[in-house]
């Protein structure tokens, strides 16, 4: 699961790190965003069912819809 901050929500960590990179001379950096990745090992043979369960977990617990968006990727 890739969990990203919604574009309209401020990212104080990203803004601070961008400033540090600019101070080091990396002037080409336009934005820095701190996203999160959560990896689950799920016991399930059916990939689509695993995805459905993972989406449900995002909606119930792993993601705050006020602040974040997410995508789910399933690997066998």
């Amino acid at each position: 699961m890739a969990i990203t901050r919604r574009p309209e929500i401020a990212d104080p960590e990203g803004a601070t790190v961008k400033k540090a990179l600019t101070d080091l001379g990396y002037n080409e950096v336009r934005t820095v965003r701190f996203d999160r990745a959560i990896t689950l090992d799920i016991e399930e043979d059916d990939a689509s069912r695993a995805r459905d369960r993972a989406v449900e977990m995002c909606n119930r617990l792993l993601v705050n819809p006020v602040l974040e968006d997410y995508t789910v990727e399933v690997e066998a």
Binding site: D11, L61, N64
Partner: protein, 214 residues
């Protein structure tokens, strides 16, 4: 005597101060463990500050599923006063009982200092009886105290006079539409006696107790 519950999650650390401040104002304040699923007999409930469930994942995200939160939601739905202080405010947002959410403070500082607040709306149970524009002085102790309203219509009842952490609309306290559920980021219980530096928190806790008694 007004009987209020002060909820203790694993990681809460302000329950004793909160219960003492409420007791000093004449309440029967009881500390209630988070696995309790029944709050029958309580007139109001406080979620105090701390780091419920370690604040893992996001602040308040896991606390929201503690058994006590169903009873807290039932009290909120019944119009009883529900107050979240600091981490308790974050829990109420995650639980959907208050709008919005929290991110790290602007400037990434953990802020531990006295802040000046202003009453913006006297329509909530926490600010009832306080004229808009009234100034209050309370301690703020938080890292993720930067309130984000998102697309929600947050009812801001207290504001920071200088928006120290970058909160949307300088919000220091937010209420639900009915005004019976309120979250406040600074700590009223730590400003509950002159010898602590300010007794302004008693004005807020007193309003909460008055609403609880009603």
């Amino acid at each position: 005597m007004t009987k209020v519950a002060v909820v203790l999650f694993p990681g809460t650390n302000c329950e004793l101060d909160t219960a003492e401040a409420l007791s000093n104002l004449g309440a029967d304040a009881r500390i209630v463990w988070h696995s309790e699923s029944d709050l029958a007999g309580f007139d109001g409930v406080v979620l105090p500050g701390g780091f419920a469930h370690g604040d893992y994942l996001r602040t308040g995200a896991i606390a929201r599923f503690s058994p006590v939160m169903k009873a807290v939601a039932a009290m909120a739905g019944a119009g009883r006063p529900v107050l979240g202080i600091c981490n308790g405010f974050q829990v109420l947002c995650e639980a959907g009982l208050l709008p919005g959410g929290f991110i790290a403070n602007r400037g990434l500082s953990f802020l531990c200092k006295w802040v000046d607040l202003e009453v913006a709306d006297q329509g909530s149970m926490l600010t009832a009886g306080l004229r808009p524009g009234t100034h209050l002085r309370l301690p703020l102790n938080s890292y993720e105290g930067n309130f984000v309203a998102g697309s929600t219509e947050a009812r801001v009842v207290l504001t920071y006079r200088d928006n120290i952490n970058g909160s949307d609309r300088a919000a220091a306290a937010v209420a639900n539409e009915a005004g019976n559920v309120v979250g406040v980021m600074p700590h009223p219980e730590r400003a509950s006696a002159d010898w602590l530096g300010s007794a302004d928190g008693n004005l807020l806790l007193g309003s909460f107790l008055q609403a609880s008694a009603a």
